[in-house]
Each structure stands twice: as C-alpha cells, then as structure tokens.
C-alpha cells in the first residue's frame, strides 16, 4: 500500500503548463495548482469553485470559497512570486468539506499577529487580506517563518 504523505507534499512532481494553467489531479478529490502569475489566481479559484460544487456546497458558499482562494493565491503571486495551492475534499463524522492549502517558499511574514488584525477595510486592502480569509472560512491556520515561506490552511464545512 502506497505510503500516504501530507497533502501539500504529495502534490509535487508533475508538469503544469503556466500558459494554460492546466492542473493535474494528484489523487481522487485532490487538486494541486502551481502559482506564478495572476492568471493562476483565476485558475485556482475556478477549480476551487468546481470542487466545492461537487462537494455539495451551495452557490453562496462556493463564492465564499472561491473568494478565499483568490485572496490566498494572490498573496503568493504578490509576495512570494511562486507557490502552490492544494485543494482537497475532507470529511469528519458525517460532514463533508473542503480544505485549501496555500504554500510558498517566499520571504515569510515578519509579524503574523499584525497581518491577522483587521484594518484593511479602511486602507482598502493593502496587506494580505488574511482577516477576510478568516471570516470567509470555518477553520484557519497559518505558519510562516521569515526566509522560509508561508503556509495557510483553511477549511470550510458543508452544513
């Protein structure tokens, strides 16, 4: 039996066409998208919407999920230049949901606390949009180290 690896790691090692934004499904119900340009932002959120729809999320939740993915993917493009978005179907008990992992090897966030504070609504979104992503999702986790990169993991459950 193939050894299972954490979702983010197991998603490597296949070609992704940057121009067309084609993605390769790693396993059933898991999709990995390489992120480099702002065109990939659109690809990532469309894939996210599709996966959410297939998991039974309603139209509003699909949009909330797509929006969160859009924010996370843009952060990668703007601050790390390259990274990866992994979308995965998850389950717990009887409920189903979606997990989004946004990883990059960028510069990392010096002050995560500050990044998570609100305050972008007045200045108009300067900054990482992370408080917004938090409000759009049910579970939010961030790990970031200066010089090593950032991983944001969010989950949304289908009620």
């Amino acid at each position: 039996m193939r050894e299972r690896q954490p979702a983010a790691e197991s998603a490597g090692g296949f070609a992704v066409s940057r121009r067309s934004g084609r993605v390769s499904p790693d396993e059933a119900q898991e999709t990995s998208i390489a992120v480099r340009t702002d065109a990939d932002i659109v690809v990532a959120r469309q894939r996210g919407r599709e996966l959410a729809a297939s998991l039974g999320f309603g139209p509003t939740d699909q949009t909330l999920i797509a929006t969160a993915i859009s924010e996370l993917t843009r952060n990668i493009v703007l601050y790390a230049q390259r990274g990866r978005i992994v979308l995965k179907a998850i389950g717990q008990g009887g409920k189903r949901g979606i997990m989004v992992v946004a990883r990059d090897d960028g510069p990392g966030i010096p002050n995560v606390e500050q990044a998570l504070q609100s305050g972008f609504s007045t200045s108009g979104g300067l900054g990482l949009g992370l408080p917004g992503v938090r409000r759009l999702t049910d579970e939010f986790h961030i790990a970031s180290e200066v010089g090593h990169g950032t991983t944001v993991t969010v989950k949304k459950w289908n009620r």
Partner: protein, 126 residues
C-alpha cells in the same frame, strides 16, 4: 483580455466578463480614467453581472475607478452584483464606500440621470 467600453451619450459603460485577471482589471481602470478625460464623461457604469468573485483586489480597483473618475468629474455606479458576490464582499468586511451601486444597467442609468439633473440644480421634470 480587454474589457469593452461603450460610450452612451455622456456615460461610459464597461461590462466585465468573469475570469478577469488582475492585469485586466488594472487595464480597465486606466482605460476608464483616460476615456472619461477624453470624452468628458459625466458617468461611468461598471456592469459586474458576470463577475463571479470579487476579492479585495477587485474591490480596491473598483474603488480606485470611482475615486479617479470622480476627480475628472464623473460619477461611477456598479450594477448587476450577484447576491452571492455581495455576501462575499460584506462578510470579510470589505468596503465599497464611496461607490454607488444600482440593481442593473437601467437603474444605473436612471441614477446617473438624477445625479446629472441635481448637479444642474434642477429637480426632475423641472
């Protein structure tokens, strides 16, 4: 993918299709600002009926369009926002303050007409 901008009298109408990249949005902003200047337009309608996601970048860009065109004498109205998109804008607390909104193109044009009439100092029908 450039967004088509139509001129209707004193107004400019831009209909956004979905799947706009960040670069496309910025290009639209710059094009609208330039054309408002060129035609001395009094109003801008940004039709977002086909927009399925509006994140903080899109919100910021729309606010920029409103501010920058206002500096050149035009009012901006966004029309056709989907209910799901509206929820995804308010839930994270994004602000479209200073940006007018109307239900659809017809309402947007009516709004701009009222604004224009008020600006001339008259009441509708006066």
């Amino acid at each position: 993918m450039a967004v088509p901008i139509l001129k209707q009298g004193q107004y400019l109408i831009a209909s956004i299709q979905d799947a706009l990249t960040d670069a496309d949005l910025q290009q639209l902003r710059d094009a609208l600002v330039a054309q408002v200047g060129r035609h001395r337009s009094r109003g801008v309608i940004v039709d977002i009926t086909a927009l399925d996601v509006m994140d903080s970048f899109a919100v910021r860009t729309v606010r920029d369009i409103a501010h920058m065109t206002r500096l050149r004498g035009a009012e901006t109205v966004i029309v056709g926002m989907q209910p799901e998109v509206a929820l995804s804008v308010v839930q994270p607390g994004l602000s479209l303050e200073g940006v007018h909104a109307a239900l659809d193109l017809e309402e947007g044009l009516a709004f701009l007409d009222e604004k224009a009439t008020a600006a001339r100092g008259g009441r509708p029908g006066a």
